[in-house]
Symmetry: C2
Subunit: 368 residues, 2 copies
């Protein structure tokens, strides 16, 4: 995106701004801190689509009364290792961390904890949640369903979201393995970037409204659909579709949220689905204590060995060779925590507008 004007701010400056904006819209200090922490981590880890670039969307929903700034988050059903949480239509950025916390507390009690969440909203990057579990020497999981944009294999209709799967494993001397992946062939954010840059999208990412493969971002966005991981029948798109279905059912059917094509949209511009089959969207969190299976240090030593072994894989000439899941985000964080977060002008303009409305200062002179 070198051709688009950009401004670079420190992560701390952006985090302060987003926290105060959430507070302006009625979110408590503690909850605003949580929410701004997730957006900040997203920008730090280079997942720009899920950072302050989304603040405008959260603000729009809060302003429209579509998100409850002061939710009464409740466990509505539980057993020693499982629970369902009703997020009372709060920010997913607030409901998510609290439900994840319940999963980790259950893991401390009985070895593992599994928490479904209904009546919630988009929760930021899925990878944030298992990173919390790592701090307690646990393996963490996070899944969520999202607004429809993906078609099942052999379909030509949006039925599922990009429904991510995140899971993280700690190591001893090596950095942890952090998996955070959409179950679609590509993230929708990449299609939006192609549109903005007026570039074609790769064949295999999506179809137009007639069900034909398309390389035109607009054709996908206007009534087309993303394809599941696997892209077509020969290359296993039934598997990407199955994984996306698994995420949808665990997150939404199991918790009593809206599933599949009935999952509410993330922006106020999008129309609401024709049917409501539950409450809000759904998440699913898991936490497992490693020492419920094996000595924690033994596990971490083996993970060091695993990581070093895989780094030595013979590389295809002309490629960097195999990475370890989490490497790209870690590389981005190493750079951005020092040099700051680059924001393109359209995002900066949105933040300036929010600043004007809320009177929370946002100063272009803070840009590096």
């Amino acid at each position: 995106m070198a051709n688009i004007e950009s401004f670079t701010f420190s992560s701390a400056y952006l985090k302060n701004f987003t926290r105060e904006v959430f507070r302006y819209y009625g979110v408590s200090e503690q909850d605003a801190e949580l929410a701004s922490d997730i957006l900040a981590m997203s920008d730090l880890r280079g997942i720009e689509s899920h950072g302050v670039a989304r603040l405008q969307t959260y603000v729009g929903l809060l302003k429209a009364g579509r998100i409850n700034p002061k939710p009464n988050i409740k466990i509505i059903r539980q057993k020693p290792s499982t629970a369902t949480v009703d997020g009372d239509n709060g920010l997913g950025l607030v409901v998510g961390p609290k439900a994840n916390e319940i999963a980790m507390e259950k893991a401390e009690q009985v070895g593992s904890g599994w928490v479904g969440v209904c009546h919630t909203n988009h929760f930021g990057i899925a990878g944030y949640y298992p990173l919390q579990a790592l701090k307690r020497d646990m393996i963490g999981w996070a899944l969520t369903n999202t607004t429809k944009i993906v078609t099942p294999l052999w379909g030509m209709e949006r039925m599922l979201g990009t429904n991510p799967i995140a899971i993280a494993f700690p190591a001893l001397e090596e950095p942890p393995i952090v998996i955070d992946m959409a179950t679609s062939v590509a993230a929708f954010g990449k299609v939006e970037i192609a549109k903005r840059e007026q570039k074609p999208i790769p064949t295999g990412w999506g179809i137009d409204s007639k069900g034909n493969d398309t390389q035109i971002a607009d054709a996908l966005i206007e009534g087309g659909a993303l394809l599941p991981l696997g892209t077509n029948g020969t290359l296993g798109a039934h598997k990407g579709y199955a994984l996306s279905s698994m995420v949808d059912i665990l997150s939404a059917v199991l918790s009593g949220a809206n599933w599949g094509p009935f999952t509410p949209p993330f922006t106020i511009q999008q129309t609401m689905p024709e049917r409501s089959v539950g409450k809000g969207i759904g998440h699913f969190f898991g936490a497992m204590q490693i020492d419920g299976f094996i000595e924690t240090d033994e596990f971490k030593r083996q993970m060091d060995d695993w990581i070093r072994t895989f780094r030595k894989t013979k590389a295809v000439p002309g490629t960097p060779g195999p990475l370890i899941p989490g490497d790209p985000e870690r590389a981005a964080e190493a750079i951005r925590s020092v040099s700051g977060i680059p924001l393109i002008k359209p995002v900066v303009d949105e933040l300036l507008l929010i600043s004007k409305v809320t009177a929370v200062p946002f100063d272009l002179n803070e840009a590096k």
Copy 2:
């Protein structure tokens, strides 16, 4: 495979035969019943590569003393919702069902149960295990690592197995959703079938020993590798690699089994890996009680709705339209439970040879 001579036997006849063969090699009556049940279900569900076609391999390992016919299967570590089981080098077809049973018992106690298994061997079709959980109104999971055949993205070396993920969800009036998928772009069995039929494999399935894409089954088999789901960087092969890594770590690192390229091979012909980093191969089972999250009947009614909604997805012209995960296996079972299991001549010849050695009768006159 219409060009290859085949013989059709009833599932019950083949199951009896395999049970008695396992007994001949020292497996107890009860364990032989379990093991033959899994092979029979595989053939019934149309997954021929994992049925009686594999009996010869199990027999070879039992004869060579590489599998313990009378394992002392033990829980070596546990918490209320987690455990690690040492399979004492038994048949995976015996160790697997017993470890899965422990997961389900823990789920009955505390809502969910998660069991890692080390010191075990190949456990048959992964889909068998969650089908057992369905009988108790649970959501079941089964993962296993397997012998190396898959390269990570940007690698040109076998580092991971086809490492399947299976999970099943019950419905009320509709049949259940049963996901059972390799995390590679295609199953290795399909490459072997292409070799046997001297047909090309699709571009995107695998590479030769030089790291180049190949359509030649032999070039993949002789020192090449399968690619992960996603097939290349543009279409998300880092995701298939991440999923395969997740299965490897949960199954083997967490239980103390051999992981990645050190996972022992399934046949006596293959050489043992240069290093041993644990005991045997590894499995990972999970079971969750639905009513730890939501009323079981409410969940099942929503699943009926989910399934009917997805069946109505607008179909791409010229395709059958979206299937529900588990449909193809269910269709095969409906036919094969009536008309029998077709076996190609090379498999029949193997069974005749086993019959000769063991004196367990196998009569071609039983073929329909």
